[in-house]
Structures are given as C-alpha cells and as structure tokens.
C-alpha cells in the first residue's frame, strides 16, 4: 500500500462516474505514449499538473485554518477572543508536526485494513527524478494536502469547546486527534482499509474529516459541560452573542474559498482533461451547494423566527459545503443545490435542538460538521449509483463509534489528570485574562487611549 492508495481506492470505488473518465484518461495516456514513441514527455507534464493541484488546492485548504480562526473569534465573547486565536494558530501547528511524525504513515502506510504503520513520514521521489513518473505526483505534495485536512478536523473541536477549555490540555487532545485518532480512522477508507474494501464512499471527507471532528467535539462538549450561565435553571437558553459578526463573516468567506481546495484537490489529479473537467464540476457543485445552504438557512430562519439570523446564514454556507463534500463530483447541479439546501435547513433546526439537549456548542460546529457530515454521506447514493445507503451507514456508524470511544478516553484521561476546563472564576473573568494574561481588545472604548 502506497500513498497513492487514496487515488487508487477512489478510482476503484467511484464506479462509472469517476472511473470512466479516469479510464479514458489512462487510455489516452497510453495511446499517446505509443503515438509519440516516448511517454515521458506527457507523463512529466501530468506529474507536474497533479503535483500542482495538490500544492495549489493545499494552500487553499491551509487558508481554512484562518477561516476557522476568524469565525470562532467572531462568535465568542471578547473576553475569550485572544485564547481562541491562540488555539487556532497552535492547533494548526500541532496538526502539521504530528501528521509528519506519526499521522501520515498511520493513515497511508502499511497493509493492515485497520491501521497504517508507525514511522516518521519520508518522501521518496527518486523514481520521478530518474525519469519514471508513474508515482503520479511529488510525494511531498500529497503529504502537504493530507496535512491541511487533518488541521481542519482539529479546528472543528476548538470552536465547540471555546470559552471554557484549557489551552494546554486542548492542545494535548489535538496531539492525539491529529497524530492518532484521525489517521487510524482515515486508514480504513483513504488508506485503503476495510471500509474502502466494503465500498464506502466519501470523496473529500464529510465523514472522515468533518464528522470525525464533529464527534470529537461532541464528546468534548459532553465531558466538559456547558459554559456557566448558558442554560437557565428554568430550562431556558441564555444566548451569549459573539463579539464581532464581521469577523465571523470573513471567516465564512475564507472557508468558502478554501473549500474549492478541499473538494477540488480531492480529485487527487489534474493531469488529464478528464481530471480537470472533474475539478471544474466539483467547483460548481461546491459553490451551488453552499449557495443553496445559505439561502435555505435564511428562508428557514425567516419562516420560523420571522427574522434572518446572520450567524444562521453563515452556518448555512458551511452546512452546504460540508453536505456536498462526501460527493461533490457525481451530482447534477440541481442535486447539489438540493443537498446543500437540506444541509442549510438541517443546521438551522439542529442548533436550537442541540441547545435544548444542553449541549453547549459555542459556534455550532456539531450541527455544521457532524450533522451535515452525516447527511452528506447518506446523500451520496442519490447521485452515485455505485454506492449504497447500507454501506454509507456502516461507515458513518464505524467512524462515530471509534471517534467517540477514542475521544472519550482521551478527554477523561485529561480531565482526571491535568483538568480540561478552567475554574468558574477564570471562566467569568474570561480565558484571555485568566490563561493568557491579556485582552484581545484591551482599550477602554475604541478611539480612546488604553488605560
């Protein structure tokens, strides 16, 4: 099993829609090779295009780290803004380091159906440097692209647990999530493990990335408990409005942009007309699903509450994006609109429902990433004939069970040792002053001097 497994598995699984173009492309390449009597030329170009796709789409996904940071900074209260910024910067760093040291090979190395191998990742491009381009892309470009994905999963957790989780324990959880939980779970599908053998389908990670992040967040929310004062003894909910909606809006736009990388790059190749046509289709479906998500969330919000809640609209964007991520390639544009719209409606209903359960999710990440991740994964067979609801459900349950169990163990271990939550006084004071000794907006009223 090599790092190309994700490609291989996808091609093997995707059936008619993906397979056909790929086959065509390969056939073309072969024909071409014969025609020009020397396949290297074409193949080196293909190799460069594929690598470029990973790099370009990878930097777009990297940019999503900034999107999560701004979204979360806008949705927490001022007294916790600096801390959430710090968590987002540092979790991205931790994810990169851990995925290098352990994660990548645990996901893509080895032959087991349930886990990769333990080894520091190291690239081998000697074949390509010697003129054999059958590796398809620079090993490092694939690493880079996979690495930014694991950071996304970690970003989901920080938002849900904002305003109460302690910095260092949160980072330890991130170490385990990005170095072990995500990669082991990922190996089952993208690493060519048992779920991929079974025919589970998750093109860009509605389940592998978003649901896994969402399950980890949900587990954390249950173990940490709600923010002080969030739920009233009478059963009511005290809203704690976010400090800056333009920052939340900015974050959402950043994520929308980054998602073209997330889904587009997951084609894993750009070296043939078939691949680049697929990427164009993915961009369109991704955009339409997000558009439908925001409009559906706005309409739902207007109908139920008689007002349009901006934060619901923003969550609608993300709902549409997460929903289409399981399969942004097969659906007809109208189906993409449908998948996204359902996501937008789901998220608008899920957020207050989760609040009713007294699960305190500061930014709505569970509704967006977990619930829409499940929806998107279930919706795949609507347009993708090679997949089945039963297999999709198997995958959803498997990822849920594993992530919940593994996260529970880690969160409890942390809770019993270093503690995972600041004390009530620190929470009241705000994590910025309690944990960082600083304020995100230290001045006494804008436009005046700080005192």
């Amino acid at each position: 099993m090599t790092p190309t497994t994700r490609t291989a598995r996808l091609a093997a699984l995707a059936g008619a829609i993906v397979l056909a173009p790929c086959a065509t492309a390969l056939a073309q390449d072969a024909a071409l090779g014969e025609a020009v009597g020397e396949a290297a030329a074409t193949t080196e170009t293909t190799y460069i295009f594929n690598t470029l796709s990973f790099l370009m789409h990878g930097f777009l996904v990297m940019w999503m780290a900034a999107g999560f940071a701004m979204l979360e900074a806008g949705l927490v209260r001022s007294k916790n803004v600096a801390t959430i910024c710090l968590k987002n910067v540092s979790l991205y760093a931790v994810a990169g380091i851990l995925y290098y040291l352990v994660g990548y090979n645990l996901m893509y190395g080895g032959e087991s159906a349930f886990i990769g191998s333990f080894a520091v990742w190291s690239p081998d491009d000697s074949a390509a440097l010697a003129g054999d381009f059958s590796g398809n892309y620079a090993a490092g470009s694939d690493w880079f692209f996979q690495m930014v994905f694991v950071a996304t999963a970690a970003s989901i957790v920080s938002g849900t647990l904002a305003e109460r989780s302690k910095l260092w324990p949160f980072l330890i959880f991130t170490v385990v999530l990005t170095g072990f939980i995500y990669p082991i779970a990922g190996s089952w599908q993208w690493g060519g493990g048992w779920l991929s053998e079974m025919g589970f389908y998750d093109f860009a990670g509605s389940t592998l990335v978003h649901s896994v992040g969402g399950w980890a967040a949900l587990t954390g929310a249950l173990i940490l408990g709600a923010r002080k004062g969030k739920y009233r003894p009478d059963g009511g909910v005290n809203p704690m409005p976010g400090s800056s909606l333009p920052l939340a809006t900015l974050g959402t736009f950043v994520l929308w942009l980054g998602w073209f990388g997330f889904n587009g790059g997951s084609q894993l190749a750009m070296g043939s007309a078939a691949d680049v046509i697929a990427i164009a289709t993915i961009y369109i479906n991704t955009n339409l699903a997000a558009a439908a998500g925001v409009i559906a969330a706005m309409a739902t919000s207007q109908v139920i509450y008689r007002k349009v809640d901006l934060t619901m609209a923003l969550n609608g964007v993300l709902a549409g994006l997460v929903s289409i991520t399981a399969d942004p390639l097969s659906p007809h544009p109208v189906t993409a609109l449908f998948v996204g719209a359902v996501g937008g409606i789901l998220v608008t209903l899920a957020i207050p429902a989760i609040d009713k359960l007294k699960i305190d999710d500061v930014v709505g990440a569970i509704s967006v990433h977990l619930i829409c991740g499940i929806w998107g994964t279930i919706a795949v067979p609507i347009s993708n004939a090679e997949t089945s609801f039963a297999t999709q459900l198997t995958g959803i349950v498997a990822y849920g069970a594993f992530t919940v169990v593994a996260s529970t163990v880690v969160w409890y271990a942390l809770k019993l040792t270093v503690g995972v939550r600041v004390n009530p006084e620190e929470e009241e004071l705000g994590l910025d002053r309690a944990e960082l000794g600083m304020e995100a907006y230290p001045e006494f009223g804008h436009g005046s001097r700080s005192i």
């Binding site: 009511g236 909910v237 005290n238 809203p239 409005p241 139920i304 509450y305 007002k307 809640d309 934060t311 619901m312 608008t348 957020i351 207050p352 609040d355 709505g364 009223g445």
Partner: protein, 112 residues
C-alpha cells in the same frame, strides 16, 4: 450650582445639545449608558434561543449650570428629548457645592 443629569435616547443628543447651546450653556459632558426601564427591549432570537433585551442604549448628558439656569435647562432638555414614546428618559437635578475650571482655577459660576 446644579448638576443636571439627563438620560435620553441616543438619537436625540444633537437636539439636546442645540437646545442647551441656545440657552447660552457653553459646555456639557456625555457618556454612553444602557438603560433598564418601562420601555422593554424586544424579544430577540439568537441562534434559535429567545431572550429579552433588557438594557437599551441611552446617552447620559451631564451639565453643570448656575442655580438660576437650572429650571430652564431641565425644561429645554425635556422638550428637546421628548418623542412622546416610552423610554424617552429622565432628568435628575443635583446640587453642586463647588466647581473649578482646571485650566484657570476659576471657581463656581466663573468655572462653567
């Protein structure tokens, strides 16, 4: 001297200032406050959770005036800030025992 302290609706500030200026008052001090009163904020919904906004934005105007101007000051504010709707605010008058102009050290009436 009296300190006239008025809590008014923010958008009435300019009219209040003009009314006071036309009485010959040369200075005043303004702060941003939030008011709780008979005027209830709407019930709002944030992310599906209902809540009532109990504090509404108001502006506090503080103006120190000589005793003989106090009544007219109160009247001017009351007229300028009035919309006839609930939440228009209050005027409170307090006694000032001494006033000093920092720049010159002038006292009381001369300080205003």
């Amino acid at each position: 001297m009296k300190l006239v302290m008025a809590i008014v609706k923010p958008f009435k500030l300019d009219e209040v200032r003009e009314a006071l200026t036309s009485l010959g008052i040369q200075g005043l001090t303004v702060s941003e406050v939030k008011g709780f009163g008979r005027q209830k904020g709407q019930t709002e919904i944030y992310r599906g959770a209902e809540y009532s906004v109990s504090f509404l934005p108001k502006v506090k105007v503080e103006v120190a005036v000589a005793d003989d101007l106090a009544a007219r000051t109160v009247e001017a504010i009351q007229k300028a800030a009035n919309t006839g709707r609930i939440g228009d605010g209050k005027v409170f008058v307090m006694e000032i025992v001494e006033a000093v102009r920092i720049r010159t050290g002038e006292l009381n009436a001369e300080a205003l």
